[in-house]
Symmetry: C2
Subunit: 419 residues, 2 copies
Amino acid sequence: MTASDPFIDRLARARAAAKRLATATTAQKHAALEAIAAGIEGAIPRIVAANAEDLERGRANGIGDGLLDRLRLDEARLRGLAAAVREVVALPDPIGQVVRGSTLPNGITINQVRVPFGVVGAIYEARPNVTVDIVALALKSGNGAVLRGGSAAERSNEVLVALIQEAISRAGLDGDAVQTIDEFGREGAGRLMRARGYVDVLIPRGSAGLISTVVQESTVPVIETGSGIVHVYVDASAEAEMAVGIVTNAKTHRPSVCNAAETLLVHREAAPRLLPALAAALRGSGVELYADAAARELLPDAGAVAADEETWATEHLALEMGVRIVDSLDEAIAHIERYSTRHTEAIVTQDYANAERFLAEVDSAVVMVNASTRFTDGGEFGFGAEVGISTQKLHARGPMGLPELTSTKWLVRGSGQIR
Amino acid sequence: MTASDPFIDRLARARAAAKRLATATTAQKHAALEAIAAGIEGAIPRIVAANAEDLERGRANGIGDGLLDRLRLDEARLRGLAAAVREVVALPDPIGQVVRGSTLPNGITINQVRVPFGVVGAIYEARPNVTVDIVALALKSGNGAVLRGGSAAERSNEVLVALIQEAISRAGLDGDAVQTIDEFGREGAGRLMRARGYVDVLIPRGSAGLISTVVQESTVPVIETGSGIVHVYVDASAEAEMAVGIVTNAKTHRPSVCNAAETLLVHREAAPRLLPALAAALRGSGVELYADAAARELLPDAGAVAADEETWATEHLALEMGVRIVDSLDEAIAHIERYSTRHTEAIVTQDYANAERFLAEVDSAVVMVNASTRFTDGGEFGFGAEVGISTQKLHARGPMGLPELTSTKWLVRGSGQIR
């Protein structure tokens, strides 16, 4: 890592610019965000043209329709991105917030205040919208950003990053605070994961495979987000209408996202009463069921596929759901303990003691009683922004708001005190 | 990693026991802590005998006096350890504390509550007292503990862990919550660093080399503590008596700990007025000075050693101090930016604007005006316990109390809400 290494030079520039950004006022940061929003709106044809190159290369390389759709930037999506940047402007600035403080017996005052991390690294795939999202959240929280957006979106990201750098400079801050390392390829991604001293935290966004690679290989601290094998357990005492409403909503409201339910557990006593109605509602919404033998017995007419071990360990992200009959709350909790990714789990019950036991014993970021798992969301929780949903236990757990993109430091003011 | 792997079996037992510990009441945990304290007091001859074996082997292996002293457990130290365990009993239990909460517009209530991490791993060297310290803090915060205490203290730790396991079981909790992996040697330490899914967080304690190895090799999240290249900057306007008091206290009050000052920066304008008195006071306390050329010119009589690049990058942990003259506050901040380990830095000044700039621009866990750096301490900050001082930016920064050994989860209570 010498000074003439172009990769390290890129990171060092982000770091130096981020240092200045750390003490920028909220008004200055808002001016930069507004310039970015306006910059996107003013460059729609240029961005769409660059994106068309990525799409064409993607088609030539035979990438799937889902990936192509995530890759696509059209005018409507770009206007949506600009609007999202302006929504970040509307959020409270976490920097400088006093978390706690006191006056010590010797008269020294101590204040723990929020400060930026410094530089946030992001590794993601084929989602050029993430470039804008991450930059907006990083800037608002006073952080620089180093982006590795993947080869599939390379041209789109190149144009977006240039536009973002210009906009930040135009607003009087240092455009170097945002850098892309896409041209360093896979090797660059590997180096970013080991860039301690240059990058303070790394956020992977994308497939479970990408996140797992970053977690395993990174020596920079990682905030792990995303994957959700989410369970809904329908207890013996569950009310039929509520159970059907919650399970159907949790599975079908938006099946492609991490807080959508993947596995339905039903108490054996409740199964004859509830499972037929649950299955009918799910199938009515187009959900394919993978059920264990006991569940299939209660659903003889409708050809549920036999569940296997893989059923319980799969995040379908589609209109598919595992169904299992359990003998007890204990068995439900044990199933969750074994297969959950610790994102969100819900119980539907009218039994107070079982509700409290489920809340106490299930070890997931969000544990719910009688509500749809779709409520695990920064917007729904009132945080205003979608920074992601942390499935790790350090630093942040569950929906993250802007404050989760900050660190703290202690300010100590004395008048000559010694020990 | 098969079920018959004795290493994994050890970790799995800690994990299962920790799961039960997570919902133990404060009273149950206090009974276990009291049993540990009493167990230590009741086994002093046995522990001292085991420790004597470690000391003898250490001497035979030619380890230094400092290390031998850290390794030694005598009756007074063991009674001190028991007393420290009882001090942990007196601290508030962080588990179940509600961090924040609200009622959403749809009537759902959300509460973010503190929960244990699960299993805390600790890697340390030749300090058997850490075994007891870590276990007490882990238990109080509802966590299991997997300990790698190093070969030098293996016999002492073996006896202590057996005694701790018995004490926990005697108090009605599961003694398996505490495990040692010392018999798996270096390979065990390496496996512990990659034991994602079994260990939730890893705390290294010891030399800078050990901490750096753990940070670089671990895929389990690490809380980095410890090393402190701590600076005191004496500004142009500093008051003489205050500067001498703070600098001397920061350097000499307890030179072997991480919050002791290592480098003195003096503004050029203040140097002729203050440096002779500062140097006289430091030397009067036995401090050897490594000074740059400008400082040596002001101290012609007293043979300060010439400072070099290494001076500024060294954590002496002894009665040695680097001294450098700087032209400005900017130069002081730049020096700190380059050499600091981001633990604690202090300015001594009567200038309001400089004080506020130093607080805002210096990026360390604790930044001080007109106070001794020795105040960076959990006890001094009112946290009651010494969990360590985090020098990282994620999760915890600065002095850590028991709440920093916890994660959180969100409890969501609804009445059938869907999106």
